[in-house]
């Protein structure tokens, strides 16, 4: 069976159209809800549009603003902790002669190989004994334990992708090992490290399950607030909160290839 050129064109356009509808339809519904002041059945679209709920969410004293500040703080602390341990680890895994290297790499794979929810339940139980439940420290530790894995993988790949000759040249010219690392290796690895930092930041900002067990109800991050609003049937508040969380996710999706180059991606897991 052969289709005419016009028929094929229509078929392709229809396929792309259906995919676009599937991708953007759910996001469009979120956007519509955030501006809907009144939307009752059987209306197909809101009967009243406006910014009333945006005002409500963005009030300086509003709970959402407080939650956003808290979420940003937790995400930044998580990035700081994750990178502080992942950069040395990544460097050692890429450059050092490590005994049992495959086993150590496997250890950094573990958190991805098991469903994390039952682990979070038990982290919460252990934290309870140390008074870490319901504290920012506890939530940061949980987020870091998960974000760390990505950070180590990407940092290892970023260091492994650097040409060793450049480091040898610096050493031959008399630079110390530390100076070579700080002035040659680290700057070259920076794009990869930035990518891993953004990754960890997003993971933490969007994290729900761990915060739900370890943080709630004392530590109210933005995803927890969104969940509460949604389960309470307050779709405007939850949609606006979701949109706030979406901005960094979409922004990263658009720029990810600028930071994560093909040659670094090819070394992930190697």
């Amino acid at each position: 069976m052969t289709l005419s050129r016009g028929g094929l064109w229509i078929l392709r356009a229809a396929g792309i159209g259906i995919l676009a509808y599937a991708v953007f339809g759910p996001l469009a519904n979120l956007l519509i809800w955030s501006f809907a002041e009144a939307w009752f059945w059987p209306n197909k679209l809101p009967s009243q549009w406006g910014f009333r709920f945006w005002d409500y969410v963005f009030r300086p004293t509003g709970r959402a603003m407080e939650a956003l500040t808290l979420s940003l703080l937790i995400a930044m602390l998580t990035v700081a902790l994750s990178l502080a341990v992942a950069v040395p680890a990544g460097y050692a895994l890429a450059r050092g002669r490590l005994p049992w290297r495959p086993i150590i790499m496997l250890a950094f794979l573990l958190p991805q190989a098991f469903p994390s929810l039952p682990v979070y339940i038990n982290v919460a139980r252990i934290f309870y004994g140390f008074g870490l439940n319901g504290t920012v420290t506890g939530v940061v530790l949980v987020h870091a334990s998960h974000g760390l894995v990505f950070a180590v993988w990407i940092a290892t790949a970023a260091f492994a992708a650097i040409d060793r000759e450049l480091e040898h040249a610096a050493r031959n010219l008399g630079a110390s090992a530390l100076r070579t690392f700080l002035t040659v290796t680290l700057p070259l690895a920076t794009p990869g490290l930035i990518a891993s930092a953004i990754f960890v930041f997003l993971e933490s900002l969007d994290e729900f399950t761990g915060s739900f067990f370890v943080g709630a109800p004392e530590v109210r991050t933005l995803p927890l607030e969104m969940f509460t609003a949604s389960m309470g049937g307050n779709y405007q508040i939850s949609s606006i909160t979701a949109l706030i969380l979406l901005v960094p996710s979409i922004a990263f999706m658009l720029v990810v290839e600028r930071f994560l180059k093909g040659e670094v991606l090819a070394k992930v897991g190697a």
Binding site: L93, G96, R97, L117, P118, N122, V149
Partner: protein, 277 residues
């Protein structure tokens, strides 16, 4: 210098390893041990009996949902990746490459919120299909049940698998593809018989990671389906929050570890057999 030292690399890795050990390996072991203990700490299998008799249906439900979603994620990834590599219509390839990745970093909880409104009986999906004249109003039905969970999982996870698979496909040697094309093979045949077998390892890794991720998502089943049976994650949270029952929750947790371990084992066995052959 790091290349010659034996101690320094270990010292550099130690803090990261310590965090994984304390915040992952220890709680993991703790959860496995607690699954076999009653509230007094005595060893027992009672938790598994309770878990199975109360939540056996939820275990089966979770397995079916995750398997179906994983299969669909794989199909979407191969279809989109295949078109990106073999497609000859430049605008369609470019549009597809731009389109597919939008949900990539959308967190599950936001995907759940989107779908909760989109897939509802009076949601945007039904409303727009009716308004476009593609569906009679009386045919409208809500998808907020197992179907909603599967749709949300595929919507969120397919871009990730596609990104990995399309990357692997793009790195393939074009020689065999061009040769097959010159011999007159159809594009579908090239995709299934030449391209997919070569990217199989990447595809399997993407699917296993997706499978494990979907096994531990709490927000999607909570927000999309209030019905029974539901996913095991919901029941684990329920045992903890309502009953403080760590034994049964951890028994369910152990069952979910075993389910993902089974998937990984099947994959490993197959790779080993392939290497031996």
């Amino acid at each position: 210098m790091i290349a010659s030292s034996r101690i320094l690399p270990l010292l550099l890795v130690a803090p990261a390893l310590a965090i994984v050990a304390l915040l992952f390996v220890y709680p993991l072991g703790y959860s496995i041990a607690t699954a076999f203990q009653d509230r007094g700490g005595a060893w027992t299998l009672a938790n598994f009996v309770t878990a199975w008799s109360f939540y056996g249906r939820d275990v089966g439900f979770s397995a079916l949902i995750v398997l179906l979603s994983t299969a669909l994620v794989g199909a979407v990834a191969v279809a989109i990746g295949g078109y990106l590599v073999l497609g000859t219509t430049r605008w369609a390839v470019a549009a597809l490459a731009w389109l597919y990745r939008w949900p990539l970093f959308v967190p599950f909880i936001i995907a759940a919120q989107c779908m909760r409104t989109f897939l509802a009986k009076n949601g945007l999906m039904n409303n727009s299909l009716i308004a476009a004249g593609l569906m009679p109003p009386e045919a409208a039905q809500g998808f907020l049940d197992w179907r909603g969970i599967v749709i949300t999982f595929v919507w969120k996870q397919a871009p990730f698998a596609t990104l990995m698979v399309a990357g692997a496909m793009a790195a393939l040697d074009r020689g065999t593809i061009d040769a097959a094309r010159n011999l007159g093979a159809s594009r579908l045949r090239i995709l299934l018989e030449i391209v997919v077998p070569q990217v199989r390892p990447t595809l399997m890794v993407a699917l296993i990671l997706s499978c494990v991720t979907m096994m531990s998502v709490l927000s999607v089943p909570l927000m999309l389906s209030g019905q029974s049976p539901t996913m095991m994650t919901v029941q684990m949270a329920y045992r903890i929050n309502q009953h403080g029952d760590y034994g049964v929750a951890n028994a369910l947790g152990l069952i979910s570890y075993l389910m993902t371990a089974l998937v990984a084992w099947v994959y490993l066995r197959e790779t080993l057999r392939e290497r031996a052959a």
